[in-house]
């Protein structure tokens, strides 16, 4: 019996030839990350152990992205606490101020997470790096504290669900629409405890940005990880980035899957997930006229340069966003911000009446910079639309791709780019 890519990576990190689903293993970790919300708890726990040094100062990333630029005194104290720890421990990958980006955008961009790695993070969207052919998953602060001490973490090996993607993508359809469609199909716990492996001919046509978006949202189906087989696009992406050597793994032809789904992507239209679950995915064109108050284009899901290009191509030069819609563009990293500046995208956004924010998670989790009042509605390229996610408990978030978000900003209601 063959192994899946997930099983192979985990086996290689626990010193075994083969691992099987439901087996408990102790895995080595190539990178452990935490942010300004989760690192303070992790560091407090780490300090209780009385250990003087972290296991490896080059294998820990601390990314101050959630409430930064610091939104209030308490948040500033948190970041100060983490900064002092990073200095004291000589943590190599500490991100704050001018070098900070949204964690799941900046770590791949800097070549710090690589194919074949085991990566854990005290952030649920750590599963993003599966786009590169890594095993990566979210854990809590206590787990990160234990890893900072030992470099190891325990896992139950997940069974795998296989998603075979075929068919040509329709215009304006991206990785976001495919993953929303899949979550709509299997539900928010449809992959609970399991690995989601994406394969099939369509994967070759996806950009790395599409793959990051899809792996990123595998947690929204309850998945432990989401993973793609590395291909030429992966190697091209890593060419000038990878900071270490890496290893490419592929699932065996006779690997065992809990379930196989065949997804004909040519049938997928731009999707919108209605409040209050990411699984409430509908064709954007079928949604009745819903007026909105805000649009957010950004986040670890859709804040990459490809996303901003798509949004700018819908808005184009000379168009204005609707006067009733506050529109926030949040480049996910400083490099994305700079590239958008060079390409003239920021000019298009600013002239259209949008606000450009510093890279931050900000409004995605109702942190800051774009909080919703009661009764307000927002179309967002982020990943969650739970009750109160972006602000008031009576506000609503509609998840969409950047093209639908940009079209909605112009129209003032949930719209498709074809309406522009």
């Amino acid at each position: 019996m063959g192994s899946t890519i997930t099983e192979k990576i985990l086996a290689a990190h626990c010193g075994k030839k083969i691992v099987e689903p439901n087996e408990f293993i102790e895995s080595k970790v190539n990178m452990a990350l935490a942010n300004d919300v989760t690192a303070p708890l992790a560091i407090k726990e780490f300090k209780k152990l009385g250990i003087k040094k972290v296991f490896d100062k080059n294998k820990i990333a601390l990314v101050m992205d959630h409430f930064t630029p610091n939104k209030d005194i308490l948040s500033a104290e948190h970041v100060k606490f983490v900064r002092e720890f990073a200095k004291e421990q000589k943590i190599k990958y500490y991100f704050e101020g001018g070098n900070v980006g949204v964690e799941h955008a900046i770590l791949p961009e800097k070549g710090l997470v690589l194919p074949g790695d085991v990566v854990i993070g005290a952030d649920s969207h750590t599963c993003t790096y599966g786009a590169l052919g890594a095993f990566s998953t979210g854990v809590g602060s206590t787990d990160i504290a234990a890893v900072m001490a030992t470099g190891k973490v325990w896992f139950k090996v997940p069974a795998s669900l296989k998603f075979i993607l075929t068919g040509k993508l329709n215009k304006w359809v991206s990785g976001k629409d495919i993953i929303l469609y899949i979550i709509g199909l299997i539900g928010v716990d449809g992959a609970l405890y399991n690995s989601m492996e994406f394969t099939g001919a369509t994967c070759k046509k996806l950009t790395m940005a599409d793959k990051f978006t899809m792996a990123n949202m595998s947690i929204e189906a309850g998945g432990k990880n989401g993973v793609f087989t590395p291909d030429e696009a992966t190697e091209e992406y890593l060419k000038d980035r990878a900071q270490r050597n890496y290893k490419l793994y592929t699932s065996d032809k006779d690997a065992k899957y809990l379930k196989v789904y065949e997804i004909n992507c040519s049938k997928i239209k731009p999707q919108v997930a209605l409040p209050f679950l990411p699984s409430n995915a509908k064709d954007a064109s079928d949604i009745k006229k819903t007026y909105i108050d805000q649009v957010v284009i950004g986040s670890c899901t859709n804040g990459r340069i490809e996303d901003l290009r798509i949004a700018a191509s819908v808005i184009k030069k000379g168009k204005k966003v609707n006067s009733n819609v506050r529109t926030f563009i949040i480049p996910a990293t400083p490099a994305v911000y700079l590239q958008a500046l060079k390409e003239g995208l920021l000019t298009i956004f600013i002239e259209a009446g949008a606000v450009i924010s510093a890279p931050t998670c900000g409004p995605c989790l109702g942190g800051h910079l774009g909080i919703l009042a009661s009764g307000e509605k927002c179309v967002s390229t982020t990943n969650r639309n739970f009750v109160g996610r972006m602000g008031h408990v009576e506000s609503q978030v509609f998840l969409a791709n950047p093209a639908v978000a940009a079209a909605s900003a112009i129209k003032g209601y949930i719209a498709t780019p074809d309406e522009i």
Partner: protein, 167 residues
């Protein structure tokens, strides 16, 4: 193994997909103070929860409890609010991991979830995996908690367990 871990309290019942944004909204994530987190526990799904909860009470919910973010603040707020255990058909995996790590007992017990109603008084024997409904005079069985997990719970969490002392 020492005596069985037995927990008793009044049930607060919820549906499926209770998520971490509802358990502890992000507006309170600028603190790690357990007492402050406790004051806002379940605020966006049940604003009266904190007023109604009594030490020892038990949360019972349907599927996928704790889905969403990896914030450990969620199980911390539940534990600090005085809740002695959470029972559900299923838990989101990060929430499950975090709960054990901070020493909050959680149990998958579908038979109990189906029968138990809001306000019932129940007793949970973690060591045996048995839930007794004192109000309805019924008993539901589940899986016993593995011994190492019982020890983690009794040590107040993973770090207490590792260092062999209560934190």
């Amino acid at each position: 193994m020492a005596a069985d871990i037995v927990l008793k309290g009044k049930v607060h019942k919820y549906g499926s997909n209770v998520n971490t944004d509802e358990i502890i909204p992000a507006r309170y994530l600028n603190t790690t103070d357990h007492e402050i987190l406790a004051k806002h526990c379940m605020e966006d799904i049940d604003k009266d929860f904190v007023k109604n909860v009594v030490k020892g009470d038990i949360i019972v919910a349907e599927n996928n409890f704790g889905c969403g973010s990896s914030r450990e603040h969620a199980p911390i707020s539940i534990k600090a609010a005085g809740v002695s255990a959470v029972i559900a058909n299923s838990f989101a995996r990060i929430f499950f991991r975090n709960s054990i790590n901070i020493g909050l007992p959680i149990l998958e017990a579908p038979d109990a979830v189906k029968a138990v109603e809001n306000g019932d008084i129940i007793e949970v024997n973690l060591s045996k995996g048995i839930v007794t409904n004192i109000t309805k005079k019924e008993t539901y069985s589940s899986h016993p908690f593995p011994e190492f997990m019982q020890k983690i719970i009794q040590s107040g969490g993973l770090f207490g367990y590792i260092s062999g002392k209560e934190l």
